[in-house]
Amino acid sequence: MEKEDIENIALDLLIEAIYRRYGHDFRGYSKSHIRRRIKQYVERRKDGCISTLIPEILHNEELFETLLHELSITVTEMFRDPFVFRKLRQEVIPFLRTFPFIRIWVAGCATGEEAYSLAIILKEEGLYDRTTLFATDFNDAALEKAKIGVYPVEALRKYAGNYQQAGGTGSFSDYYHARYDSAAIAPALKNNVVFANHNLVTDGVFSDMHLVFCRNVMIYFERELQNRVLGVFTESLVHGGFLCLGTNEDILFSDDRHSYRSIDGPARIFQRLAVRNFR
């Protein structure tokens, strides 16, 4: 047996161990991604290999936490892929306006930039006060950062550019207070944002969402899991609600693809079709 095969076995065992011990289910994740991350993790520890990691993980909860963070890529930006947000303003916001109150779910929110970006758009469109934004992630550390909402100033500089491209109508500086080398998101943007821990793989659906944002999360999943998670979104959405995926993701391969119509292709915005159709 070659080294790589053995490594694969060890990897599978490790994932199984994590699942059985902590309930975190990485079995449906992209194998290559998991392998890369865990190998990197093992290398960084400069000690042992994947197979020796298994017993340690089983007994050492803290170690697991660190591994968990290794497995969660929290890279994000405000107004990441600005054109998506521009489309959102044009195509989705007018429809959301017809609901007296709006519920939005940002799944896999990482450190919260995306949720705050949405908050800014809603604010500018005058919808913020009737919106509740649920921003969830399974990474508690990231969530903590998101709740605090303090980001390095250099990053904000880039975000300002994104904001312009996303069709911002105000001045980006209204939305943060810079202190020294970091900037805090304006409290007014935080009022209606609820950050909570939620694992897309194991946890249940949210109800009556008008917009679900889940970008660059499902790229880490194998097809099977992607399919399942999309099912969760479909169930969470009201009829006529919207789903927005990452620019490199698609619903083309999911069972639920017929429950949606595409609103904008490149921006990956889809609308859940109403099942009841009397026409």
Binding site: G23, I73, T98, D203, S207, D208, N216, N248
Partner: protein, 1211 residues
């Protein structure tokens, strides 16, 4: 005969015709012959016999003439005479000779003798004659007339022998004549006989001819038609599709030829049909294979379907299909098999040229192998196995490329047909396989590409993450050093501080603890007392409430009966009796008033009186008072005047109904106790000198003073008039009968309205009752005690209070005579008398009636007969009306039946919420009942959906109507709230689309008003508004409406969807799951009655949905939109039975809320069910750790929730 048979039809017919002609000719010949013979005879008769006779007669005549002439000569022997006579004689003689010659010619043999005789006699005669003649010249006549002798001789001769000869001759002629006559007669008879014979013969001939002709015709016809029939039978059979019917006709005529050609045709038809069947078989097969291929998007499915179909169709025993793969080794991959039992022995992949299949693919030609060697492959079934006889392998060719190959094994060598089929079907399979394979490859490629892009993104993000981390780490390293130093310093400082604080805290703790203990004790005492008080109060009210029930029911009957007697419709009662009935009725009514008042009082005292605050205008009030009471006072001859003072406020917010009740009491009293003078009412601010009730301020108080000029009340009795059941003992007061409750109720009501009634009176001068009310009544937060016992929720009737179970009396109804299309009303009513009354009323309206004396029976009848409408009593044995109503509404089959309540209970909004369409309080007036029935009818007679659009903008209204209107939706429009209210009162709608901004009233207020009035059932409401809503507004709107849509560019789409949903909502169409839910939940629900649940969730929609479902179970639901609000609510409602808590809420989330709750003394044990979208064990543990009793995954499954609630609320 055979010869005849073989003749052509033409000859056959001709021969018959000839035969008939011949017969005809023969017949004619016979007839002619006979006729001729007859005529001959007749001619002979005429020509010979008659002539003979004639001649004989002529002979005789001539003889006679000759004889006479001779005589004459003799007698007159003058010369000239002689000459003349001689001439005569010669003439006749010559004639005689002629005659005789003629006769001679005619005579036959027999007659000749007579003739010869005659001739001889003639000769004799002639001899005599000549003798005489010879004498004649000798006769000389002498002038004296003397005659010579000759004369004498002549005479002698003449009269002697001549005469004799003549006579003999005559005799002879006569004899001949006679004989002739005889012969003639004989001849005639003979002729006649012969004629008869001729006639008979001709007749016989005729008959014979007809008979023979007919027979021959028949024979020929039979011969022809028999042949034709046989042919027709065959052609018919062919036409019917029976091609193998044998043709039995063998004759050589046309029919024979026809039969022969039919036979030929049959032959070619059989051939054609066989060809057709084969073609058809192939076609069907191809179609089946096509069918099996249709819609297949995966190669594997396609292959399996195709091989199965082909194998079964060709009756192959085993089959396998291989697919050519691009760019892969081996080239052929197993695609699908049929009956491949030993799957492991079937190769998954085959290379080109390898084995038969490989070879077939390589050469692109089919291969058939006969006589398969034993053991080559075995076909197995459960019962045995065997070897196939023939193996057929064929490539699937698409544009001359092999895309796959198929192998089939047969027990029997496949027929040409089967081979044909394979040859035809395989290219089609190849095409489909090609497309599907292409598509699959494409989508696989796409999927691979997608995975690649995703992976790229992954790596990109990962890289960024690693970079970020690295940067962070360096940053952190730098910082941590500094931080460490700082922290050290801080720590030291903090330590010192902490120590100090500790000491201080210790001291304080002791003091507080002591105080706490003290407080607890006193609180407990107070609580006990309060409870005792509450208990006694409640017993009283309950007793009263039950009492009045027991009284009202019989009273209802009494009043109805009395009423019937009063009306005296049949005219059988004496005026005296009618008067008595009137008395019964009026006393009954009085009694009812008393009971109502007692009940009112009990209600006020137990705090169960519901208030509804409305705005009203005091000036308007003054006008109403004048209108209402002028009559009453005028009856007693008293003037009444109402005055509004200028300082009177312009509006008042209070309960209009209760205020009316107080004023009615006061004014009735005033009128009652006043004999002369008048009544004077003043509305305004209190006089500056007035002593106001405690807690009221003059500038926000309105005073209504009712002054009379009656007997007055002595000072020492003044405090008594407000006591219940107290009446002034004075003789004067006695005669004014009354319940004595009025004032007590009024004062209690006034206090309930936040005010009071004060009395100023002087004996003999009059009394003034002044009602003080606050300008604006602010309702206290609902008192929990009072809410538990809300009216309308079925009260548990204490066993002791229930009447002894009576024999249930069923009233005869129409169940025996129900027709299919009859409109049936079900009357559920235990009072037989009243039931009968209701039945009578229904029948009057041509409705059929069913009667059930108990709730359960009512339910059974409703389910069995599905009546059009139900009249329902509340106070029923076994199962009360509320339970019946609920059961009716929970049964999907009876849900739609409109129910109208007729009960002694007070009307209750709750009834409408539970699905009743109307509420009547007994005793009822006939008109009310009629209205109730009309309402029922109105409901069940509708089919077309009614939509009401309330919108002030005409254009928008129009566009909504066009958007939603269609043939089975009737749309009414209203531009103002007033119009809308009027419309809703006038009929039932299935859906209302409501704009909030109406010119005369805000839409929300309108909804509140409509709901509050409880007269009508509100249709499902869709709020369609251009306004932004606050959360509070939305929350309230959610309660009144089904759906809210904010106008905007995209709102019409949604409006259409939602409206259609409500317009076409029928229970039958409800999703099965939901229906089952409704049906299932019914039985186990009783325990939820009167329970109170706090529901904390920030999502108003789910709060609304859930609370509605819970409320349907009789649970009272308190709603909070976040943790903080929940805690606030719990402060005021300590009697909540269970808390449903969403874990994820803004402001204060579920975990924190629970922790706070559990740390408080009161809430330590209250069951909390955590609602969470999280499902991991850890999360659940966290819920439990934070204090949840249980947890439930969102979205909430109602069934699970209810069963969980049953567990936690069970005591």
């Amino acid at each position: 005969m055979a010869f005849f048979g073989n003749l052509s039809i033409k000859s056959k017919i001709l021969s018959v015709v000839f035969l008939i002609i011949a017969l005809e000719l023969a017949m004619s010949a016979g007839a002619i012959y006979f006729l001729d013979a007859v005529s001959n005879r007749l001619t002979r008769l005429m020509d010979v016999d008659a002539r003979k006779m004639h001649l004989a007669a002529l002979v005789k005549t001539n003889l006679f003439e000759i004889h006479r002439a001779q005589k004459n000569i003799i007698l007159h022997p003058s010369q000239e005479e002689i000459e003349r006579q001689s001439d005569q004689k010669t003439l006749h003689l010559s004639r005689l000779r002629l005659n005789l010659a003629d006769l001679d010619r005619l005579t036959n043999q027999q007659e000749r003798y007579a003739f010869i005789e005659l001739n001889s006699r003639l000769d004799d005669f002639m001899k005599v004659f000549r003798e005489i003649e010879a004498l004649i010249p000798k006769i000389d006549v002498f002038p004296n007339g003397q005659r010579s002798d000759a004369y004498a001789a002549a005479i002698a001769l003449s009269f002697g022998s001549a005469r004799d000869a003549y006579n003999r001759l005559s005799e002879q002629i006569d004899g001949i004549l006679q004989r002739m006559d005889e012969s003639m007669a004989r001849h005639r008879v003979e002729s006649e006989d012969y004629f008869k014979l001729a006639l008979t013969s001709v007749l016989i001939l005729c008959c014979l001819g007809i008979g023979v002709g007919w027979g021959a015709g028949l024979l020929v016809a039979r011969k022809i038609s028999a042949g034709l029939d046989a042919v027709v039978t065959v052609t018919d059979a062919i036409a019917r599709g029976k091609l193998d019917t044998p043709v039995t006709v063998t004759s050589a005529d046309e029919i024979g030829r026809l039969a022969a050609s039919v036979k030929q045709m049959q032959g070619s038809l059989i051939e054609a049909s066989e060809a057709f069947a084969s073609q058809n078989w192939i076609k069907t097969g191809i179609e089946r294979v096509n069918e099996a291929m249709r819609g297949q998007v995966r190669v594997a499915d396609l292959c399996r379907n195709v091989i199965t179909e082909i194998a079964t169709y060709t009756q192959a025993a085993v089959g396998a299909l291989y697919v050519v793969k691009h760019r892969s080794e081996p080239m052929l991959a197993f695609g699908g098999g049929y009956a491949c039992t030993r799957a492991e022995r079937i190769p998954k992949g085959i290379d080109a040229g390898q084995g038969l299949i490989g070879q077939a693919v390589l050469t692109k030609a089919p291969i058939t192998v006969q006589d398969v060697p034993a053991g080559y492959i075995k076909v197995c079934s459960a019962l045995g196995d065997g070897c196939p006889a023939c193996i057929s392998v064929a490539p699937l060719l698409f544009e001359d490329h092999a895309v796959g190959a198929i192998e089939l094994a047969f027990f029997k060598t496949p027929s040409a047909l089967q081979r044909d089929f394979l040859q035809q079907v395989l290219p089609k399979v190849a095409i489909t396989l090609q497309t599907v394979r292409g598509r699959e490859e494409l989508s696989e490629a796409l999927a691979r590409a997608q995975v690649l892009t995703e992976e790229l993104q992954q790596q990109q993000d990962e890289l960024k993450a690693t970079n970020g981390e690295l940067e962070e780490q360096t940053q952190r390293l730098k910082q941590s050093e500094e931080k460490l130093r700082q922290q050290q310093d801080q720590l030291e400082e903090a330590n010192a501080e902490l120590e100090e604080k500790n000491e201080y805290l210790e001291n304080h703790k002791q003091i507080i603890e002591r105080a706490n203990r003290e407080l607890e004790r006193s609180q407990r005492e107070i609580e006990e007392k309060a409870e005792q008080l509450a208990m006694s109060g409640r017993y009283k009210s309950e007793f009263l409430a039950n009492m009045s029930h027991e009284l009202r029911t019989p009273l209802n009957s009494i009043l109805l009966l009395a009423r019937m007697f009063c009306d005296n419709k049949e005219g059988r009662l004496t005026p005296e009796q009618v008067r008595s009935a009137h008395i019964i009725h009026s006393s009954g009514s009085d009694l009812l008033t008393l009971i109502n008042e007692v009940l009112d009082l009990a209600k006020i005292e137990s705090g169960r009186m519901d208030l509804r605050v409305e705005r009203l205008d005091p000036r308007e009030l003054a006008r109403q008072i004048t209108d209402q009471y002028t009559h009453l006072a005028a009856d007693k001859g008293l003037p009444i005047d109402v005055q509004t003072r200028p300082d009177c406020p312009t509006q008042l917010r209070t309960d209009r109904k209760r205020l009316g009740q107080i004023l009615r009491n006061l004014i009735h009293n005033a009128v009652k106790f006043t004999e002369k003078g008048g009544i004077h009412i003043v509305i305004g601010r209190p006089d500056p000198g007035d002593v106001l009730p405690a807690g009221m301020r003059a500038e926000s108080t309105i005073a209504i003073a009712v002054t009379d000029s009656g007997i007055g009340i002595p000072t020492e009795k003044q405090h008594l008039v407000f006591e219940a059941f107290q009446q002034l003992d004075t003789g004067a007061a006695r005669k004014f009968a009354g319940t004595g409750l009025g004032l007590s109720i009024s004062r209690n009501l006034a206090r309930l309205l936040g005010g009071d009634i004060l009395l100023f009176s002087r004996i003999g001068v009059g009394s003034t009752f002044t009602l003080y009310l606050p300008d604006e009544l602010r309702l206290p937060a609902p008192d929990p005690e009072a809410r538990i016992d809300r009216p309308g929720l079925p009260r548990k009737i204490e066993p002791a209070a229930t009447p002894p179970v009576l024999e249930l009396q069923s009233v005869p109804d129409d169940r025996e005579s129900l027709g299919k299309d009859d409109a049936v009303i079900l009357v559920i009513e235990d009072d037989p008398l009243f039931a009968e009354h209701l039945i009578g009323l229904c029948r009057l309206k041509n409705l059929k009636v069913l009667h059930a004396p108990s709730g359960q029976m009512g339910l059974d009848l409703a389910a069995a007969y599905l009546p059009k409408g139900i009249l329902l009593d509340i106070h029923l044995p076994e199962k009360d009306g509320w339970a019946v109503l609920e059961a009716l509404k929970q049964n999907p089959n009876t849900r739609h039946i409109p129910v109208h309540i007729v009960s002694v209970e007070d009307p209750d909004i709750e009834a409408y919420a539970r699905g009743a369409i109307g509420f009547l309080t007994k005793p009822v007036q006939a008109e009310d009942l009629e209205r109730a029935l009309a309402k029922l009818e109105n409901v069940f007679e509708r089919q077309i959906k009614e939509l009401l659009v309330v919108e002030d903008d005409q254009n928008l209204r129009g566009s909504i109507v066009t958007l939603i209107g269609n043939t089975d939706v009737r749309t009414d429009q209203a531009a103002t709230a007033a119009e809308a209210i009027a419309a809703i009162r006038s009929k039932r709608y299935d859906c209302m689309i409501l704009d909030l901004g109406l010119p005369d009233m805000n839409g929300l207020d309108m909804l509140r008003l409509l709901e509050g009035q409880a007269q009508e059932v509100l249709p499902p409401v869709i709020v369609y508004t251009g306004r932004e809503l606050t959360r509070e507004q939305e929350a309230e709107l959610q309660v009144h409406s089904e759906s809210i849509i904010i106008k905007g560019v995209r709102s019409e789409e949604r409006l259409y969807d939602e409206a259609s949903l409500f317009l076409h909502r029928i229970v039958k169409k409800m999703p099965e799951k939901q229906r089952r839910m409704i049906t299932n939940l019914y039985d186990a629900d009783m325990m939820f009655r009167d329970k109170k649940v706090l529901l904390a969730d920030d999502d108003m929609r789910s709060v609304f949905a859930l609370s509605k479902l819970l409320e349907e179970k009789g649970i009272q639901v308190l709603k909070a939109e976040n943790g903080r609000k929940a805690l606030d609510l719990l402060d005021t409602h300590s009697d909540v039975d269970l808390i449903l808590l969403d874990m994820m809420m803004p402001d204060m989330d579920g975990y924190e809320t629970m922790q706070r709750l559990r740390s408080s003394e009161d809430m330590r044990n209250i069951p909390i069910i955590a609602l969470t979208a999280k499902a991991m064990k850890k999360d659940r543990e966290r819920c439990i750790q934070s204090g949840a009793s249980d947890y439930l995954a969102k979205p909430v499954d109602l069934g699970r929730l209810l069963s969980m609630m049953r567990v936690w609320m069970y005591r």
